[in-house]
């Protein structure tokens, strides 16, 4: 068959297939967003579109209204998980988000279904932005209400959740594997745990003299600019301390610090090498859990 016609039919079939698991989410004034039936009874949407914790309703693919309850939020990835009773609505067929490469043709779906198409333009955390893990940058239009909807590959498999709420300029999607992880954790604990020290830091250049004196390779380290009261760092770290490494691993960027404080480190001891008053010293810290924030 004609190649263009075949492509056209494949794209339309992909929309039809993926659209069967797509809900409209009514959780903010006026503009409904989109959600995906990710696992039986669980709908994933974009956290920034879920303003209320209660009184949530969804519109099923067949147009019927159904009530939903909030399971939990993952603000770091702009995901929220809702519980819904809709056993007859198909669950999304998930694709392998690790098989998505830059240049792949993808579709974004909104409830309806409505669709837009484009390509994956980049994979990875965008420069300077603090997110928990990698994201897909998309060269396509996320129309009003598309946040929380599925990113769909050319075969109609869902490979991510789209959001325009994480970046002003860019259209992003959270990869499917990350969504599944987040859903698992929220379904089990109702929240996403993050390791936490309770310090605010900024990158700082390590003076040449200090590098020589301490035999350091790293040119950058983190200077402590804030210590929260009652946090694991309180009384252990001081404003002005320069943190060189944690457990022997050099730290040069606040994002690296955040990545090191994974949930599994909560409750564990960590050795920080810091420079205070021109002298290097070791400080023992116990990783705590980051206090919850609402949205």
């Amino acid at each position: 068959m004609d190649r263009l016609l075949a492509l056209s039919n494949e794209l339309a079939a992909a929309v039809e297939h993926a659209g069967r698991a797509v809900f409209a989410v009514h959780a903010r004034p006026r503009l409904p967003s989109t959600g995906v039936h990710w696992r039986s009874g669980f709908v994933v949407t974009a956290n920034h579109t879920v303003h209320a914790d209660e009184g949530l309703t969804l519109t099923r693919p067949d147009g019927q209204s159904v009530a939903a309850t909030l399971v939990g939020r993952d603000p770091g990835r702009d995901l929220a998980v809702l519980r819904v009773e809709a056993p007859d609505v198909p669950v999304a067929e998930l694709g392998d988000s690790a098989a998505i490469h830059v240049g792949h043709v993808v579709l974004a779906l909104g409830a309806g279904p409505r669709a837009s198409w484009g390509v994956v333009s980049a994979i990875g955390a965008a420069g300077g932005r603090s997110t928990d893990g990698d994201v897909f940058s998309l060269d396509l239009t996320l129309y009003a209400g598309f946040s929380g909807g599925p990113l769909v590959d050319a075969q109609g498999h869902v490979v991510g959740i789209n959001t325009s709420g994480m970046s002003r300029q860019m259209q992003l999607a959270i990869p499917g594997s990350v969504v599944s992880q987040s859903l698992d954790e929220l379904a089990r604990h109702g929240r996403i745990a993050h390791g936490y020290l309770g310090v605010g830091t900024q990158p700082v250049r390590v003076p040449e003299s200090m590098r020589q004196q301490l035999g350091l390779d790293q040119e950058l380290a983190l200077i402590v600019v804030d210590v929260q009261a009652g946090s694991p760092a309180a009384d252990r770290l001081l404003i002005g301390d320069v943190v060189l490494s944690l457990d022997g691993q050099a730290i040069t960027d606040p994002l690296e610090l955040r990545r090191m404080l994974r949930a599994e480190r909560i409750g564990r001891r960590i050795a920080a090498r810091v420079v205070r008053g021109g002298q290097a010293r070791e400080v023992e810290l116990t990783v705590g859990e980051r206090p919850p924030r609402s949205r």
């Binding site: 004609d2 190649r3 263009l4 016609l5 492509l7 056209s8 039919n9 794209l11 339309a12 079939a13 992909a14 929309v15 039809e16 659209g19 579709l107 309806g112 279904p113 409505r114 669709a115 837009s116 198409w117 396509l140 239009t141 129309y143 009003a144």
Partner: protein
């Protein structure tokens, strides 16, 4: 058919409409010597019609419906074959679509996209073919075509980045009523 062949097919049934010097929009060859465009493109009873091969002819507005935003032109000696019309039931959300027009005066420009949705924007509104497709002024009145180059709509508006086209079935009704 590849995209270049598709573009050539759609270009053959697309004309440029000018008002003295300025490009005002596009039109579609709907029948022998008959061109359809948007009502908002042709404000006066006469318009200059330019074929893809550069030939210029005079067009006369024989029917104009501002509410439907459609106009029918009689262009004696146009000499172009009429567009093939795409069946509405073969068009789905996600189907590949192309538009040809003269955005910002660029002649015969092709844009590609997919069907975003089919239907009204709000409750009770008129039906549109809503395209995830980049249009610009100058595309108005031009064809929206499917992957086979068959016309499925007349491009009429851009709303919130969406391309809105009047479905071909509505155009057919208008042309029939105009006689």
């Amino acid at each position: 058919m590849d995209l270049a062949a598709l573009a050539a097919t759609v270009r053959r049934i697309t004309v440029e409409l000018t008002d003295t010097e300025r490009v005002v929009g596009s039109g579609v060859v709907w029948a022998t010597d008959r061109v359809v465009t948007n009502a908002h493109v042709v404000a006066r009873p006469h318009v200059m019609v330019r074929r893809a091969d550069g030939g210029r002819l005079d067009g006369r507005v024989v029917a104009r419906d501002r509410h439907a935003d459609l106009a029918l032109l009689h262009v004696p000696g146009l000499g172009l074959s009429a567009a093939a019309i795409g069946p509405a039931d073969e068009l789905h959300v996600g189907s590949l679509i192309v538009a040809v027009g003269h955005p910002f005066g660029v002649r015969g420009a092709l844009t590609t996209g997919i069907v975003h949705a089919i239907g009204s924007l709000g409750r009770g509104g008129r039906p549109w073919i809503q395209g995830d497709l980049r249009l610009a002024p100058g595309n108005s009145g031009g064809p929206l075509a499917d992957a086979r180059g068959r016309v499925v709509g007349i491009n009429a508006m851009i709303v919130g980045g969406l391309a809105l086209a009047i479905p071909a079935s509505e155009v057919t009704r208008f042309v029939r009523a105009a006689g």
